[in-house]
């Protein structure tokens, strides 16, 4: 079942990329119309999609997926972007990109399983320790709304948000247990802190009034034919969104590293809240790039992940996911108008994405160090991960900062096995 659903996602996403209906990479989306309208040739498009996506698949998607044994959606959909743009045009392209995409989707599941199994066979098994990569995220994901407020309205307001979130967290930890009738309800401290932070963040954002002097551009009327193009493709996008929601509900894939690590630790409510916050962060980006380019994303504004996490039945998740992504497209024009009215919300979206990657970068780095230190105590693990991080900064082809932690931890795991074989390392008792 896992293989079938991933093969379907891979096939459909590749076809959508091949036809220029939807691509996952935000950097590729603006280039698609250049190709469709004949200002760029196939070869240049294929080269660009490869350059934009390949580094992220290898350096970010795969390592994060291995560390938690859930596939990060980037690994799948950045790959299908590349497959779709490399395959030929026309009917032949649909068949070829579909076939390769299906193989790729199923291959990822098999590949991840193979890697995890192979690690288990090593003389020093480091998989249990590798799970620690996600530990700091699980504790610290709730701080990002404070960072968003800090970016947008200064450090003072950021600190106020952080303190309120912190107070809520402590209060809930000690008093967050209720008995309603016979049911026991235990509120989750981090989840409630996140929710509090998000509410404060939104209150700040909607209070910002539009600047009357700034020139506004009516995107929707400027690009009305492109909006129409997306709306025409709703049926395909609906199936795509449904499939991703179903795969998420089966815990095969996750939409971002934070909810992925929370899911891996069984914290579904927190994962759903985080995915929701991230979805809000992506609304302005996806809405404006989609309207201006006529190309959508296979997971849209990422709300299908929230659906998948909250609904345990894959079939119902499929239906609700399909409805969700269709609504997103139908509401595109309305959303663009809404964002013009509340410029604070648009900025807030940009800042959510900045804040989440900042929190992830430090949390995954510390997590990578903790995991590496657990695998190779006595300083070896820390030595290697910190060494990799600082050296990566000087590289001309650096991997993304966020990925250094997981990559470093996996590297240390393999290193201690090599050292063990050479007789230079003895596992702790």
């Amino acid at each position: 079942m896992k293989y079938i659903i991933m093969a379907l996602i891979g096939a459909l996403a590749s076809i959508l990329a091949n036809k220029g209906v939807a691509v996952f990479n935000d950097g590729l989306r603006p280039i698609i119309p250049e190709y469709l309208e004949g200002r760029m040739n196939k070869k240049a498009l294929a080269a660009t999609s490869f350059a934009l996506g390949f580094g992220l698949v290898i350096g970010f998607g795969i390592p994060v997926s291995i560390a938690a044994s859930i596939i990060l959606i980037h690994s799948v959909l950045l790959g299908t972007d590349i497959i779709g743009t490399w395959c030929p045009e026309g009917k032949k392209g649909i068949v070829i990109s579909g076939a390769i995409g299906a193989l790729y989707g199923a291959g990822l599941v098999a590949g991840l399983k193979f890697i995890v199994d192979a690690f288990k066979l090593l003389p020093v098994n480091f998989l249990p320790q590798l799970g620690q990569v996600g530990t700091p995220i699980v504790a610290a994901f709730a701080v990002f709304p404070a960072l968003v407020v800090g970016y947008q309205y200064g450090v003072k307001n950021g600190i106020i948000t952080l303190i309120i979130s912190f107070l809520v967290r402590q209060f809930v930890q000690y008093y967050g247990h209720f008995v309603i009738g016979t049911a026991k309800v235990a509120l989750n401290p981090e989840g409630m802190a996140l929710l509090t932070g998000m509410i404060i963040m939104i209150i700040y954002a909607v209070r910002e009034k539009p600047d009357k002097d700034s020139q506004t551009v009516d995107l929707v009327s400027l690009f009305s034919d492109r909006v129409g193009r997306i709306k025409k493709n709703i049926p395909y996008l609906a199936v795509m969104g449904g499939l991703v929601a179903a795969a998420t509900s089966m815990s095969i894939v996750a939409g971002d590293p934070i909810s992925l690590n929370l899911l891996a630790k069984g914290k579904n409510v927190e994962a759903a809240l985080t995915a929701l916050a991230r979805g809000i962060g992506f609304v302005p980006l996806v809405a404006t790039t989609a309207i201006a380019t006529g190309v959508y994303g296979p997971v849209g504004m990422t709300f299908v992940f929230v659906v998948g996490i909250l609904i345990k039945s894959p079939i119902i998740a499929f239906i609700v996911g399909a409805i969700t992504i269709s609504l997103e497209v139908l509401l595109l024009s309305a959303l663009a108008k809404f964002l013009d009215k509340f410029p604070g919300m648009k900025k807030c979206g940009d800042n959510i994405r900045t804040a989440m990657s900042k929190v992830l970068e430090i949390a995954l780095l510390v997590g990578g160090m903790m995991a590496a230190n657990a695998m190779a105590p006595g300083g070896l693990g820390l030595f290697v991960v910190i060494g990799l991080y600082v050296l990566n900064k000087t590289s001309k082809k650096p991997i993304v900062d966020m990925a250094v932690g997981p990559v470093g931890a996996i590297f240390v795991g393999i290193l201690i096995n090599v050292l063990y074989v050479l007789g230079l390392y003895l596992p702790g008792k």
Partner: protein, 119 residues
């Protein structure tokens, strides 16, 4: 006086600071939303556009590409890959006005672009 706008999506303050430090009083820098910044180039109220996002071309350049067209835009760094100084200078010589990069590489690529457009 060279007029620069910072559009794009993330880390705008930091990018504007880096540009100010290099350009000093030879330039003006304004932070705008991506749409406003691209419009400023189109209506000739600004000379160059800088923008960052996590892919170097999505949020950073989407509006610039849509409003100005690809021939005026260049992605100078992307995840895992920074274009060489020579290539970046070549893009400016070709007449590119809008530059996208990832925030991680801002310190490396902005000085290259600035030194070229100031010279």
């Amino acid at each position: 006086m060279i007029r620069i706008v910072v559009g794009g999506q993330i880390d705008k303050e930091r990018i504007a600071d880096i540009i100010r430090k290099i350009g000093g009083d030879k330039i003006t820098v304004q932070i705008k939303s991506d749409i406003e910044a691209a419009m400023a180039i189109k209506t000739n109220q600004a000379d160059y556009y800088f923008g960052a996002c996590n892919t170097g071309g999505g949020g950073a350049l989407a509006m610039a590409i849509a409003l100005l067209g690809m021939p005026l835009c260049a992605t100078v760094s992307m995840p895992g890959n920074i274009r060489s100084d020579k290539e970046i200078i070549g893009e400016i010589e070709k007449g590119k006005k809008a530059f996208g990069f990832t925030p991680q590489h801002a310190e490396q690529v902005i000085p290259v672009i600035m030194n070229k457009i100031l010279s």
